[in-house]
Structure formats: structure tokens, C-alpha cells
């Protein structure tokens, strides 16, 4: 790939876009609905290939990929897309359309954001030039192939490229599209923004985190065990690599309550390791986890009320903290539990994280559930759900507060 070749491919997509926008919007949505149904089918060739190839490419275990896809794709039905399009694209006098061409910069290795990032611009009849994530060169080409299987003309409006992000000339050529959807760290997105002109549109999906909050009625007994199983599932799926992965659990009550939650989580993580084993871990992440475990043990030795529960081989770790102060999140199944005495303390604890807060798994507040959820939403959480459901958001989830289709709209077309 050269910068000139990328510009030529953008030009070809732009031309394909003229054809695409001559088609009725409904026809395009129907084709994409069929694509989603194809992905929901575990027997579809693309799904089979993804389940086979992604573990090797991205380092997840095969059961994690299988379970993660099954759970996340279940609610992404064709009907869900039709409803989403009707809700977000219908305008007085026509239907919303997207930019002439959209560049999609992917990151990470979780397939669902990739699928939606490609489907969304097409739903607005905007062709997409897609740069695969370095860690997942599998999903985007398979999405393109599934579109081709359903609608050959629509497939001409998607082009997947792969190149090293360090090549500035290539990056600048890629970013010359009318609209750029960028996923990555804050630094990556700032670097993208710095290379774009004022007339271009930038849709930002920065790094984010999720949390779990357990109220008094989920603090012991069977309710705690069930909540812990759910949080363990949310943590195990995609090995805590996604913005919907919880990194900390806030337990209402004292340190004893947090200790009970820690025990339940340790039990649940140990149990789920047998069913959904953790995948590979890079040396940097492994070193950070080891450092954080040893640091917690040293803090305990210094008299702090901190305790560590971990698998003998370090495949999961739960650290029960003495306070609610944020600490490093090594990921790869590393959870911290913080005791919070009341709702005010909960808000104070989460407030510093609000800029990056994606979702919260919430349980155990009985009649107060609505009020607590409202507080968490006011702190920036765009999704509140039960433990065990974090990794299967509905298709219309406003990730980063952005509506999945409407955020890509440019104008209206008949």
C-alpha cells in the first residue's frame, strides 16, 4: 500500500458511493440486516472462520471467542438494525445520509465494534475504507466478505486495508476521507485529530472502562454468588480487553463486606477459568500484574487492610483494597474490590473516572436501583445493566454517548 494507492482507493469508494446513494435506503438496510443475521448464525462460513482464526491472531482462547460472539451477537438482529435505522435516520423530507466516504480506524481485537463500525456508515450509504487493527487482521475482511455474500454491489463500497500506523504518509492519505471514525487511545485520537482539516468530521471512540457496583442485597449469600458469577463472566469474556470489561467492583459496606465480595469473585473467577480459559498475555501486561500483586502484598505487610486472592499461576487476581482510590488496572482478569460505605461515597469514588466511564453492572439496591442508576448515568455511564450482561450491549447502545448511526450523518437524501 502506498499513499497514492490509498487515495486512489478512496476515490474509487467515493465513486461507488454515488451509485450507492441512488439505491433506496431501505434496500441497503435490508441487505445489512441480512448481514447481521448471517453473523448471528454460528454455522455461517464467516462466523466459523472467525471462531477458528481469531484465537490465534488475537491471543484469546477459543472458548472465549465462541462464547463472546454468541452472547454479543444474540441481540444484534436484523430487526434491531431496522428499528435503529428507523429511529436514528428518519428525517422530515427524507432519510439521513452519511459522508461521501468514511475512513474507519480500528483498534483492539474484539470483533463486535469492528462489525458495527463497518455496518454503520454503509447504513447511511457512505462507503467505508477500513484499516484493520494490528491485533485483529481477521474480522474486517470477513465482514466485507459477508457483505459480498449478501449484496455484491454493496460490497464495492467497502475496502479493507492493513498498514503500520507509524507510516505517517499512509496515515495522512487514509485520513483524507470526508469522515473518520477513530478508535484507540486518547493519544491516538489526538494524533488523528491533529492530521485532519477543519472541514472533515471526526467521530471519536477513545479508550474507556466499565465497573460493577454491588448494593447491600447483593452483598452476601446466594445473591452475592450470582452477582459474582456475572461479574466473572463480564471479566473473562475478551480477557478484560474491552471498554465493557469491568476493572473494579464497588461493594457497599465496610471492608468486611468487600472481603466477602472478594472471596465470591475469586471463587467465580477460578470456576470460569475452567470453562473460559484466559488467553495469552504479553510480557508487559504480565509484568504489570506481577508488580501490582507484589505491591498489594507489600502494602498488606505495611499494615494496610489490603488482601490479595490469586490463582496459583496468576491467571486471575482479586485485590480487596482498603479504600476507593483508583489504582492501575493490569487487565487480563485482574479485579479490584473497593468498599464504599454509602451512595455519596460511591459517587465520590467513581467521579474521577467519569470521563472514561462506559458502563456499569449494577445489582443489589432493591427499590433504590433506579436512583443509583440515575446517579451513575449522571457520572457518564451510558449503559447500566445486570452483572453478566456487560459484554452484550444492544445494537443501539450509544457508545461514548454517540448514537451509532446518527453520529455519522451528514445530510438528508430522498
Amino acid at each position: 500500500v502506498t499513499p497514492d494507492a490509498l487515495r486512489a482507493r478512496l476515490a474509487a469508494l467515493r465513486a461507488a458511493g454515488h451509485e450507492l446513494r441512488r439505491r433506496p435506503a431501505r434496500e441497503v438496510i435490508e441487505a445489512l440486516a441480512a448481514v447481521l443475521e448471517r453473523w448471528r448464525d454460528p454455522r455461517s462460513p464467516e462466523r466459523i472462520e472467525l471462531e477458528r482464526e481469531l484465537p490465534t491472531a488475537a491471543g484469546f482462547s477459543a472458548p472465549v471467542v465462541r462464547e463472546g460472539l454468541a452472547r454479543a451477537l444474540a441481540p444484534w438482529t436484523g430487526d434491531a438494525l431496522r428499528a435503529l435505522a428507523a429511529r436514528e435516520l428518519a428525517r422530515e423530507g427524507g432519510i439521513a445520509r452519511g459522508h461521501d466516504v468514511t475512513a474507519v480506524l480500528l483498534a483492539g481485537a474484539i470483533p463486535m465494534p469492528t462489525l458495527l463500525s463497518i455496518v454503520a456508515p454503509l447504513a447511511l450509504r457512505s462507503p467505508a475504507l477500513v484499516k484493520s487493527a494490528e491485533r485483529d487482521p481477521i474480522t474486517a475482511p470477513l465482514v466485507a466478505r459477508s457483505i459480498a455474500s449478501v449484496d455484491g454491489a454493496l460490497a464495492r463500497c467497502i475496502d479493507v486495508v492493513g498498514f503500520r500506523g507509524r507510516d505517517d504518509a499512509l496515515v495522512r492519505a487514509f485520513l483524507s476521507a470526508d469522515c473518520v471514525v477513530a478508535t484507540g487511545s486518547d493519544a491516538t485520537i489526538e494524533a488523528v485529530a491533529a492530521r485532519m482539516a477543519p472541514h472533515q468530521a471526526l467521530v471519536r471512540h477513545g479508550h474507556a472502562l466499565s465497573l460493577a457496583v454491588l448494593g447491600p442485597s447483593a452483598g452476601s449469600g446466594a445473591a452475592l454468588d450470582e452477582a459474582a458469577r456475572g461479574i466473572a463472566l463480564d471479566t473473562a469474556l475478551w480477557d478484560q480487553q474491552g471498554c465493557l470489561s469491568p476493572i473494579s467492583v464497588y461493594a457497599m459496606g465496610d471492608t468486611e463486606a468487600a472481603g466477602r465480595v472478594g472471596n465470591a469473585l475469586a471463587h467465580a473467577l477460578a470456576e470460569i477459568e475452567g470453562r473460559l480459559p484466559r488467553g495469552g498475555v504479553g510480557p508487559g501486561a504480565a509484568a504489570l500484574a506481577a508488580q501490582e500483586r507484589a505491591g498489594a502484598e507489600l502494602r498488606a505487610a505495611a499494615g494496610q487492610a489490603v488482601s490479595v486472592r490469586t490463582a496459583p499461576d496468576g491467571r486471575w487476581t482479586v485485590v480487596v483494597e482498603p479504600d476507593a482510590a483508583p489504582r492501575p488496572a493490569p487487565l487480563y482478569r485482574f479485579l479490584r474490590v473497593h468498599a464504599v460505605p454509602d451512595r455519596e461515597a460511591l459517587v465520590r469514588a467513581i467521579a474521577p473516572l467519569s470521563r472514561h466511564l462506559a458502563a456499569v453492572a449494577l445489582d443489589g439496591f432493591g427499590a433504590e436501583m433506579g436512583a443509583v442508576a440515575a446517579e451513575l448515568q449522571s457520572l457518564g455511564s451510558t449503559r447500566i445493566c445486570a452483572p453478566g450482561s456487560l459484554q452484550c450491549p444492544p445494537l443501539d447502545w450509544a457508545r461514548d454517548g454517540l448514537r451509532p448511526l446518527a453520529s455519522l450523518a451528514k445530510g438528508i437524501q430522498d
Binding site: 474484539i110 474491552g242 501486561a285 504489570l288 507489600l298 505487610a301 488496572a329
Partner: protein, 370 residues
């Protein structure tokens, strides 16, 4: 050595004596003896460390090899005062870099004697190997002086060396948190004309700032062939990151100092000793970091405690006999690999960019504590 405890003073004196030896001979038996004695002292005098060791079943009674001495994570220095002397004897505190809102690591010292003896010996050996005894060198320091940042171990190191071997017109190029551009341009021009040795030393990020200034002005300097550069530190929390090879090519282009005369220093506030690239000392050998004989560097399995094979990537663990006042055995989250008789530092969390959309750890903490 003025440390209060006689046993500690004796250990400190032994380390200082070692730093003054010219041949830097590796002596495993001598190292092991001192390391085990220092471990026993720190076990007795640093209560959190003692309990940490006991929880691991390691005490001076059963630790037979220095490799068995429990290492504390460097991150612990952010939260705990790990000292092997009574806190009221604290005479100096070095803090890790970072904004005031961030929790900063701290090394508390009751004496600077061992610390300075170690830094002096390593700096001389690796950055000034060609400096004749009694002669001086022009220092251009891309870091604030200790008058501005008294708790910076880096500023302390530069000022110590500047005081001891710096030419009278040596200067700091960072003042009030900013690069003193007029002074830099004036002195670079003068240094390029003078045929005297000069050492430009500072943080990697400060070099980037300097090079950007020169680039914006379209300026290039050709420092004398005897000039050398020392850079240290990474780009964590900075607005711009530059690969080391790129930085060295840039320095060569704008200052006229080739990569063969650029020395990277690996050090950290929590350590009494530093590790330098071998390029000036052994110009014909492969670039690697060399450990002073009173230190040992081990490259451990990322998640375990065994050493990895030479060339394999692991996390860096250190035992530094110059850390007499705190804990001598440390483990870092930095990745590295062994190269011959030295090692290479690959940086922290080199695979962070490979993660998914879950937030980078440091970014989270920057936000949370800002």
C-alpha cells in the same frame, strides 16, 4: 559513612570502597556476602519489608543465595516509606517525576554518601572514560538545577557531576520549567567553535523539545568530535513520543553528535545506582547496558520468578548494594533482555498499544488524579 547504625555504616563503607576501585571487577563471592548482610540488616530495620519477606517464608535464617532475597516492587515507593533507618533521620528525599496531582514515588535517605559514590563512579566510567584525571568538561544540562528541583534525583546527579568535573562555564539549559532558547543557541554556537569536550545531558523529552526548537529555526550545529550526549527517561505522560533510533538520528542531524557517542542511562529514583550504555566505554562492542559490580540485574519471567534465557524478554529485577537505606532488592515493571554481559531495556508495557479499547493504565490514573 555517617549512617547511624554501625552495621549499616560498615556496609556503606564497603560499598563506597568498591565504587572507588578502578577495575570494576565482577566478584560474585564479595557481592553475595555484602548482599546477604545488607538483606539481614534491612530485614531487621524495615518492618514492612520484614513482614513482606516473612509472608514469603524468606528470612535471613533461610536465604542462602542473594537471588533468593525478596524483591519489592518499585511501585511500592509511591505509597510506603521503605526505610531501614528511623524516619526522623531522613535527611534527603528524592521523588519520582510527575505532576503534583499524581502520587509520586519517594526514596528517603539519611545519608547521600553511598548514593553519590555510586553515581559518581558510574557516570565517570561510562560518560567520561576519556577524561584525564584532574581535567574538566563543559556540561550543558537539559534539566533544572537542584535549586529549582531539590527533590529530583536526576538534577542531583547532574549537579553533583557538574560540581566535581564541570568546567566553570557549564550551564543548565532549563530554567523555570522552560528551555532557555537564547542561551542554548548562543552556547551551542560557542561549543561548536571551541575544541573542548562537551557533554550535553538531559531527559529524552527535553532533547525532543530542544531539537524541535532547532528544527523550527532551521538550525544545525556540529559539536566537536569529542562531544557526547547522555539522555535518560521515557515519554510517559508526554505529548509526544519518539523512538530511540529516531531520537539519535535527530540528535546527529541537529547537534552533530553521532549515535556512537550517545549514551542512554537507565535509572530510577528508587535506586542508588544507574546503568549506562556501553558505547563510549566499548565502542566496538554491541550497545548494551552494563551493571556496576555492586549491582546485579536479572531478567525474570514476566509473571514468574525464574530468570529467562539470554535474549528472551522478561521483567527487570535489580539488586543494588548502594540502596543501603531502603531495600536493596527491587523488581520493576520494565521489560528487558540480556545481551552478553549486559542488558537492554525495552520499556514499560511495550504491548500496551496491542490492547483493546480498555483504557491504558497510566491514562486512567492521570485522569483520576488530575
Amino acid at each position: 559513612v555517617t549512617a547511624g547504625d554501625p552495621a549499616r555504616a560498615e556496609l556503606g563503607a564497603a560499598v563506597i570502597a568498591w565504587t572507588r576501585e578502578a577495575d570494576w571487577r565482577r566478584d560474585d563471592a564479595r557481592f553475595a556476602e555484602l548482599a546477604l548482610a545488607l538483606f539481614a540488616f534491612q530485614f531487621d530495620h524495615c518492618a514492612p519489608y520484614r513482614r513482606f519477606c516473612e509472608a514469603r517464608g524468606r528470612t535471613p535464617a533461610n536465604v542462602r543465595r542473594w537471588q533468593e532475597i525478596p524483591a519489592v516492587p518499585t511501585s511500592a515507593f509511591k505509597e510506603l516509606a521503605l526505610t531501614s533507618f528511623p524516619s526522623e533521620r531522613t535527611a534527603h528525599v528524592f521523588r519520582t517525576s510527575g505532576t503534583s496531582a499524581l502520587q509520586r514515588g519517594a526514596l528517603r535517605l539519611d545519608t547521600l554518601e553511598v548514593y553519590e559514590a555510586s553515581l559518581r563512579a558510574s557516570f565517570h566510567r561510562h560518560l567520561l572514560p576519556d577524561l584525564a584525571p584532574g581535567s574538566r568538561i563543559v556540561f550543558r544540562v537539559l534539566a533544572p538545577s537542584t535549586r529549582e528541583t531539590p527533590d529530583s534525583s536526576l538534577s542531583h546527579m547532574f549537579d553533583t557531576m557538574l560540581r566535581e568535573v564541570g568546567a566553570a562555564h557549564s550551564t543548565h539549559w532549563i530554567w523555570g520549567g522552560a528551555l532557555d532558547v537564547p542561551r542554548v543557541l548562543r552556547e551551542l554556537g560557542a561549543d561548536a567553535q571551541a575544541d573542548v569536550p562537551v557533554a550535553v545531558c538531559g531527559t529524552a523529552f527535553a532533547f525532543v523539545h530542544l531539537l524541535e526548537e532547532l528544527e523550527q529555526r532551521g538550525l544545525r550545529f556540529a559539536l566537536p568530535a569529542t562531544a557526547r550526549v547522555m539522555e535518560t527517561g521515557g515519554f510517559k505522560g508526554r505529548s509526544r513520543s519518539v523512538a530511540r533510533e529516531e531520537l539519535y538520528a535527530w540528535i546527529d542531524d541537529r547537534l552533530g553528535v553521532p549515535a556512537a557517542r550517545i549514551v542512554n542511562q537507565y535509572g530510577m529514583t528508587e535506586l542508588g545506582s544507574q546503568f549506562y550504555d556501553s558505547v563510549l566505554r566499548e565502542p566496538s562492542a554491541a550497545r548494551r547496558k552494563l551493571a556496576p559490580p555492586w549491582t546485579r540485574v536479572r531478567i525474570l519471567e514476566p509473571a514468574g520468578s525464574e530468570e529467562v534465557a539470554p535474549g528472551e524478554i522478561g521483567r527487570i529485577a535489580l539488586l543494588d548494594l548502594a540502596n543501603t537505606g531502603s531495600v536493596c532488592a527491587l523488581e520493576t515493571a520494565d521489560l528487558g533482555r540480556r545481551i552478553g554481559d549486559g542488558f537492554e531495556v525495552l520499556g514499560r508495557d511495550a504491548d500496551a498499544e496491542q490492547r483493546g479499547c480498555s483504557i491504558a493504565v497510566d491514562a486512567l490514573l492521570e485522569d483520576a488524579r488530575a
